[in-house]
């Protein structure tokens, strides 16, 4: 079963999370530049994957810093380093945080 990633609550969470000075557009994590940080605003893909990502503390509103990698990517979430392959990183939409760097 697939769930629509942009449910109302998730979108709402994403909108609420934005603050002045932050870009309004979200990008897949794979497109976030290395060294940049962002806030997760939506998850795409299979429900089971979304669920596990959330259970690992990588759900909506989590802060993520992309350390590097060209796919797989290396990220830090809540001080925990996670590796994601390209498809997994493409399924996580983040709002880049202006001026935040690793």
């Amino acid at each position: 079963m697939l769930i629509a990633p942009e449910t109302q609550s998730q979108q709402a969470g994403c909108v609420i999370a934005l603050s002045p000075g932050q870009p309004a557009s979200s990008v897949p994590l794979c497109q976030l530049p290395a060294g940049a940080s962002g806030r997760v605003c939506a998850l795409r893909g299979e429900t089971a994957f979304c669920q596990r990502v959330r259970e690992m503390g990588f759900g909506e509103r989590a802060f993520v810093t992309k350390i590097g990698g060209r796919g797989p990517f290396l990220c830090v979430v809540n001080g925990c380093r996670l590796a994601l392959n390209h498809d997994a990183a493409a399924a996580i939409l983040v709002e880049p945080l202006a001026g935040a760097a690793a």
Partner: protein, 722 residues
């Protein structure tokens, strides 16, 4: 909403006649095995949970009063909403679903203090069970280094359970933990969290239905109701205990309703838990200094060091250089360092055989013991040093945190064939033996990816193939001493051929038979740590013991059977027309039967016997050749090998032509690379896949490929005049 509103103390064991059973549970990389080893020492038993190839570790710890306590080390899990077989075992043991494992009286949760929020998620789910829990906060030193001060007393107050700060790697906190384990009575948790209002009625109704129709206790029913709503797949939650029809209907009706309303029920449940955990963490974790920006918060010196190492270890170029360097070192150690202890084992077995032979008078029983039992077991046990060295390296790589980086590095390659980096570790283990390789697939979450990895793992050239390769290379090269460059080059070619075959068939299966979406990999990379050599040696000893037990049971039985088949019936004693005993034996007759099938590959019936015997253990081929070509035994290992090599070179077909031509030797090596010739692996695959369908398929496609390739090579080689 609290699952236990009136906590009452619970005695250590509900069954007065047995020692209390504690389950040890936590996230992967939380230090669970280190704590388990610290508590149990050498008093451990390693086995498997029946029905799955998930390792089962049970140990005995002692309370401060000397009372024996049974400790079950459960596989690491991120959530009770299990996504892989090992997580399912953890869930089922905690929910009391496994008939082979007693329901734990108490649960010891271990949490990584450096990442408390994520680790408390599983703890939170376990507290829902309403069972007595002890929480161990491990790696407190690393948390302090990261600038985090954790108020364990406050956490204990909030959760109502004993909370023990600990540094398992340094033995700190173990006494305090033992004191907690020794307590006759433990309070029940009193944590509270609010289930989202939209879901609360469903949780209550499902709890009632599970209690009424599925015979669950009230607290377990509530925990299962929450799991059913957390995991989108109810079949995965219910596992081997399917839901009753009324509960199933109730669940479906709620899901249909929420789908209509656009409610993401599972996401809301996780978010609600994290919200409750977030509030708790805010009260108990005090950052030493204000952290600017949540991203990367808590990154202290340990993390910074790991970052610096990762900048090189996961670098697109240097990462590969390091990875290949480590792999080369490992294989070099396996094939060179192991030579010395292998010689010792050979000598010891030879000495034992001589002593035993002196005790037993010549006859059938003498031959059975010496040629059947001892020779058969020796053929396998001799590889113990290689297995131990491989597991030493694997343990070292896991213990330092590098193994996850290796999976990271290999992900790009694995993704080309439709798998992800997690499949790399089972394939690496398969270079020693496919059995631990198949067992290591238990961490792969996607069932199709796991099955593909299992199906191709035996292509990786295991250590049992090595002696066959070495013998055939020696027979192939005309010089008495095979030049090192030639030997290494040919070995590299054979290992590459197997690895290439594994990748090709993985790609083929993912495109056809087991088609599936590209796997999404999310893998935790633990901080780099100095290896805990004690734990590495523990793991090495455990694996080695499993291997030795297999040699002493399955291999011994098969060796005896094969010896019988190769020696019976005896030919009639006719001095005028002496008959070859082997040709007259059952094995010889079977060799004749299979000869028409293997003749197009250049193999005769004598090679056929060796091939058949290899199904017990591939390396038996060498001893088969020794018996078939009547090579005299020699106490000197080198002399024995040289005699066998000469015997193969001298072997002739009935028409007087040479049997082991370079083409036949090459073909035999190719056959051994591709053919599925290991009964023990097939048995493990049967257990893992739950039936004979996939092991038989594996036997068929691998051996079929081997036959086809050898047919082409031999016929083309002959046509070209080789």
């Amino acid at each position: 909403m609290s699952p236990a509103t009136s906590p009452s103390p619970v005695p250590a064991s509900s069954a007065a006649t047995r020692s209390p059973v504690y389950a040890l549970v936590g996230n992967p990389n939380a230090g669970k095995s280190t704590l388990f080893n610290a508590l149990t020492g050498l008093k451990q038993k390693v086995g498997n949970y029946p029905g799955v190839t998930v390792e089962r570790k049970v140990g005995t710890a002692y309370s401060q009063h000397g009372q024996a306590l049974t400790l079950i080390d459960l596989p690491g899990a991120y959530s009770l909403a299990a996504r892989s077989p090992d997580e399912a075992v953890t869930r089922d043991v905690l929910l009391g679903r496994r008939a082979d494992t007693p329901t734990p009286d108490r649960i010891v949760c271990i949490a990584d203090a450096t990442n408390l929020e994520r680790n408390l998620y599983l703890v939170h789910q376990i507290l829902d069970l309403g069972r007595p829990v002890i929480l161990v906060l491990n790696m407190m030193d690393l948390a302090a280094q990261a600038g985090l001060r954790i108020r364990a007393d406050r956490l204990e107050h909030e959760l109502g359970i004993p909370v023990i700060p600990c540094e398992a790697a340094h033995g700190k906190g173990i006494i305090e933990l033992k004191l907690a384990l020794s307590r006759h009575e433990l309070p029940l948790p009193r944590h509270a969290w609010t289930v989202p209002p939209a879901l609360a009625p469903a949780v209550s109704e499902l709890q009632a239905s599970l209690t009424d129709h599925d015979a669950k206790g009230p607290l377990v029913a509530r925990a299962e109701a929450l799991l059913l709503l957390t995991d989108p797949d109810p079949l995965r939650v219910s596992g081997s205990t399917p839901l009753s029809a009324p509960t199933q209907r109730l669940l479906e009706s709620w899901k249909t309703r929420w789908q209509g309303e656009g409610t993401d029920w599972s996401g809301e449940l996780v978010a609600a838990r994290y919200e409750a955990i977030g509030k708790l963490v805010a009260q108990v974790v005090v950052p030493a200094e204000a952290t600017a920006g949540a991203a990367g918060a808590g990154a202290g010196s340990a993390l910074a060091l790991s970052d610096r190492i990762d900048a090189v270890a996961t670098h697109p170029v240097w990462g590969w250089v390091i990875f290949l360097g480590i792999m080369a070192t490992m294989f070099l150690a396996i094939f060179t360092l192991a030579e010395i202890p292998m010689g010792w084992i050979e000598g010891l077995v030879g000495w034992t055989a001589e002593r035993v032979a002196a005790l037993i008078p010549p006859g059938a029983f003498h031959d059975l013991v010496i040629d059947g039992a001892i020779a058969g077991v020796e053929g396998v046990i001799i590889f113990l040093p290689q297995i131990l060295i491989l597991f030493f390296f694997i343990g070292l790589l896991e213990s330092t945190g590098y193994m996850a980086r290796a999976a990271f590095i290999m992900d790009r390659v694995m993704s080309k064939v439709g798998l992800n980096g997690k499949s790399f570790i089972p394939l690496l283990s398969s270079y020693a033996c496919a059995i631990p390789g198949v067992m290591a697939t238990r961490t792969i979450e996607e069932p199709k990816d796991r099955l593909v990895t299992i199906l191709v793992a035996p292509f990786m050239s295991c250590s049992a193939r090595l002696p066959v390769y070495l013998l055939l290379i020696a027979a192939l090269v005309s010089a008495n001493e095979v030049p090192l460059g030639t030997q290494v080059g040919l070995l590299l070619l054979l290992y590459s051929l197997g690895t290439g075959a594994a990748f090709f068939f993985a790609w083929l299966f993912k495109k056809t038979l087991l088609r599936g979406a590209p796997p999404l990999m999310i893998l935790e990379l633990p901080p780099y740590r100095l290896p805990r050599l004690r734990d590495v040696f523990f793991q090495m000893a455990e694996r080695g013991w499993v291997f030795v037990k297999r040699a002493g049971t399955v291999i011994l039985a098969l060796s005896l059977l094969l010896w019988f088949l190769a020696n019976h019936p005896k030919p009639p004693e006719d001095a005028a027309r002496p008959e070859d005993p082997l040709a007259h034996s059952y094995a010889g007759r079977v060799g004749r039967v299979v000869e028409p099938v293997i003749a197009p590959l250049g193999f005769d019936w004598r090679i056929g016997i060796g091939l058949l015997q290899s199904f017990a253990a591939r390396e038996v081929f060498n001893s088969s050749m020794s018996v078939i070509f009547s090579v005299e035994e020699s106490a000197d290992e080198e002399t024995g090998r040289a005699r066998l090599r000469e015997a193969l070179r001298a072997a002739e077909r009935p028409d007087g032509t040479r049997l082991f031509t370079p083409l036949v030797c090459l073909n035999l090596m190719v056959f051994y690379v591709f053919a599925m010739q290991c009964v023990a692996t097939l048995a493990v695959v049967r257990r893992e896949t739950g039936g004979w369908k996939w092991p038989l398929f594996q036997l068929g496609y691998m051996t079929g490929t081997a036959w086809l390739l050898c047919f082409v090579i031999y016929q083309v080689g002959r046509a070209l005049g080789f």
